[in-house]
């Protein structure tokens, strides 16, 4: 899933400036699962705003609304009836959602309330970890199911570097060395001979380096 962090309240207030009619817009997908932009978090942020402005003696209107998804037009279109009543749409979706809402409501100011961080997994309640960088050409078959591009700090295809120590990365001892994990996994699965292979230079064109990506599936088009 896409994992994010909510922006600080102070930053959100600064971005809102003098605007007081706010539609706080949540998303029921990834950001709900990682507890950053779903219905509950829309409620929390809205309550924070109301409380703050009330204390300041301001006049305001904060409306809460959570869409099934902010990355599909059919859902975004559901707020068309009342979006115009607000000065600003404060989107709590990932960066894709924020942009798609902004695209759909061209005359509206759409602001992000969330910092989108990575594609990852839930390690335990309240803990998420990065797993994929969407390079567009998966090599997990070569590396024991552990991605060195996303999980090695230097994205080394032929690691580990000389900074791997006690299973941890040189950048800090909280971060696992991806290549230690790869070696452990290759050993556990009886594939140590794989380590001897030199992975070739990667063609990054399938990733962001090839320019913004677009995918067309003719078989699915209407």
């Amino acid at each position: 899933m896409i994992v994010g962090n909510r922006k600080d309240f102070k930053e959100i207030l600064e971005k809102l400036g003098s605007r007081r009619r706010v539609l706080v817009l949540g998303c029921n997908e990834c950001v709900t699962v990682c507890g950053v932009g779903g219905e509950r978090e829309v409620g929390v942020l809205s309550a924070e705003l109301r409380l703050y402005w009330k204390k300041e003696g301001e006049t305001f209107e904060v409306r809460e609304h959570t869409l099934e998804r902010q990355c599909d037009y059919e859902y975004i279109d559901q707020i068309r009836g009342f979006a115009d009543e607000y000065d600003v749409i404060l989107s709590m979706a990932c960066g894709a959602g924020v942009q798609y809402v902004a695209e759909a409501y061209k005359t509206k100011l759409v602001l992000p309330a969330v910092n989108t961080t990575f594609l990852g997994v839930t390690i335990e309640q309240g803990v998420w970890s990065e797993r994929c960088q969407g390079c567009g050409d998966c090599i997990l078959d070569m590396t024991g199911g552990i991605c060195p591009i996303a999980r090695c700090s230097k994205s080394l295809l032929n690691g580990p570097c000389g900074g791997s120590s006690g299973g941890k990365c040189e950048i800090d001892n909280e971060t696992d060395c991806a290549w230690q994990l790869i070696v452990d996994r290759l050993k556990e699965s009886g594939q140590m001979e794989r380590y001897e292979e030199i992975l070739p230079v990667k063609d990054w064109r399938t990733g962001r380096e090839g320019g913004p990506r677009k995918r067309v599936r003719e078989d699915l088009r209407l």
Partner: protein, 308 residues
Amino acid sequence: MKTNSRVEKILAGGGFVVTSECGPPRGADAEVVRRKGELLRGVVDAVNVTDNQTAVVRMSSLSACAILKGMGLEPILQMVCRDRNRIALQSDILGAAALGINNVLCLSGDHQKFGDHPQGKNVYDIDSIQLIQTVCRMRDEGRFLGGEEIKGKPLMFVGAAANPFADPFEIRAARLGKKMRAGCEFIQTQCIYNMERFSRWMEMVCERGFHEKCAVLAGVTPFKTAGMANYMKKNVPGMDVPDEMIARMKGVPKEKQAEEGIKICVETIERLREIPGVRGIHIMAIEWETKVAEIVKAAGLLPRPEIE
């Protein structure tokens, strides 16, 4: 002989190589490089020039190499994959060869987190093993990574680093094997303090015969103070400083510690020369280039061979 490298020539003649390093300044003063170079003249066979080591901005390795080359020294161009993509790396290889630089050391590079610009973005388009392959391909096949023909092949003697003290230990010899298969002709190791572990690694390297195609130059760094020894143990990733080494430094009064550090370094070199497969010594006297001559002399490694 594939290149004009002094290191290649000495190794081909069965000689024992001595290299050292010169860290470029944090400014544009060429005199700093010349001063450091002068200290190493006639003392070592070649001088590594570090490439923004510990991710701190310094004068470019290539420029400092050109300055040393102009003084008649033999530079080894260190190149890290952190800051340049395949276009810039290959371009600098061509430039280095055009300036008469004969040696390159292919490295991953320290993560920018350690440096003075932790906010920066890293590149890592290719890794150190792929950089070895790239330079060898440019030299031997006369082709760029992209396949196009090179007019005027860069004749570089290709080296890399190895850290026998990093984990997982069990693949460290295999990793050197991968570098060798990629085309690497010499290795300079991380600073050696734990002789037992280095010997075990060297045995694994020799068992698999990697040392025959890829010359291992053993790395040493003299301690200036007990504090430095302690700092290296605790704060430098992939560094293995045994407690008895620190105890020995602490055991002498402060004003005698530098002398003790040099003594340890010379003893280490003497022991390393006895280890089968070791083809040379790489002395990394960090901001202490003034002591290299003394160390080389005390270790009985002077005079250095005359090479055409």
